[in-house]
């Protein structure tokens, strides 16, 4: 399966994604600029992405912990998710996310 990731400059990258990975891990291992400081523990909010409207309802809803953690991110809207809390699945092939401001590495 593949993920589509729009970086901070607007360029879209197609990333091969193993199933069952965290979306954050796929983005990080591909070398795109994402801070993901806590390594996926839902403890830092530096992996914030916007999920494309077409995909939002297909994702498992965010946990209470993720919603709370989003308080530590910026420019949040209804498309906001922490990419470490989204797991890749076969039926998410083509999922489009955009890296949000404030999650780029220092």
């Amino acid at each position: 399966m593949h993920l589509l990731v729009r970086d901070q400059s607007g360029q879209v990258h197609e990333l091969e994604a193993p199933e069952g990975w965290r979306v954050m891990e796929v983005i990080r291992d591909y070398g795109l600029p994402i801070k993901a400081e806590c390594g996926g523990a839902c403890a830092c909010a530096t992996c914030h992405v916007y999920v494309d409207d077409a995909w939002r309802d297909k994702l498992v809803a965010p946990s209470e912990e993720e919603i709370e953690m989003l308080d530590g991110a910026f420019e949040i809207d209804e498309r906001s998710r922490l990419s470490c809390q989204i797991l890749t699945r076969e039926d998410l092939d083509g999922l489009l996310v955009t890296l949000a401001p404030g999650s780029e590495p220092a």
Partner: protein, 347 residues
Amino acid sequence: MSDHVISTDVIVVGAGPVGLFAVFELGLLDMKCHLVDILDKPGGQCAELYPEKPIYDIPAIPACTGQELTDRLMDQIRPFDPTFHLHQMAEKLENVGSEEAPRWRLTTSTGTVLEAPVLVIAAGGGSFVPKKPPIKDIEPFEGKSVFYAVRRMEDFRRKRILIAGGGDSALDWTINLHPLATSLALVHRRDDFRAAPASVNDMRRLVADGKMDLHIAQIKGLKGHNGNLEAVTLHSKEKGEHDIECDTLLAFYGLTMKLGPVAEFGLNIHENLIPVDTEKFETNQKGIFAIGDINYYPGKLKLILSGFHEGALMAQQAFRYVFPDRKLRFQYTTSSTSLHDKLGVAG
């Protein structure tokens, strides 16, 4: 200057798990340590980022939380009586000795001056500093009218303050600064707060009594001149963009890690990491070691257990700098009576 210099054997920058365990390994070899950390508590990432999350890969401890690991390490190093200089940044480093026999002088942001033949950098992912909102042109306001921490409450007397955030810092300062301020408002992105329920209740009472405003919105921009804030532009679903007049913004969005002043210590740095050898974990500067998440060598894994191992090997070489005339003796803690004495346990 030298009248207030503190002399010791080893200075450790960073009181995360790796810096803490280094105190133990150094202590077994008779070296005294002073630790510096910008956080106001020991434990580094374990205490700051995941105090309540369990760790499962500490050898012989099937499970313990980040805070438990920190507490246990503090217990373990107690016999060596390390000195902590918390809530201060290790800022400036100079060699006041020679290249062959270095003597490192470290100055912190609060003016503590430490000197030792050995400096151990256990700075992890970097120093914990407040997250800064990615607002365009915020820089001129920072330190003048936009702040990420309260150093002196008095500085906020008779100010028109806007506080941003929904955690304990935001709520505590809302309640504490409210009596001093001319006006105070809190802005948070949702009408739900992570902070302790008691402080949330206090805040809601102030709002209900008309003593402060609560805005459910996000910050979009700042208005003002020469770093003097005049208004903050908020955005909410209901009201769209609107301005809140204020002269002070306090933003509490949590902490993030930045390499910080260690970058200026004259060490080789590669992608924010300090390359070391895998025998002594020494840097390109004699007497300066780097252990834990901050170092890099082929095969490096950012795991606590790797950092513990690195500390043990580092201590062997540190001994040679601190006690150039003494012979190093390898001993086990189980059977050495001299180690038992140091640890304060009966043989």
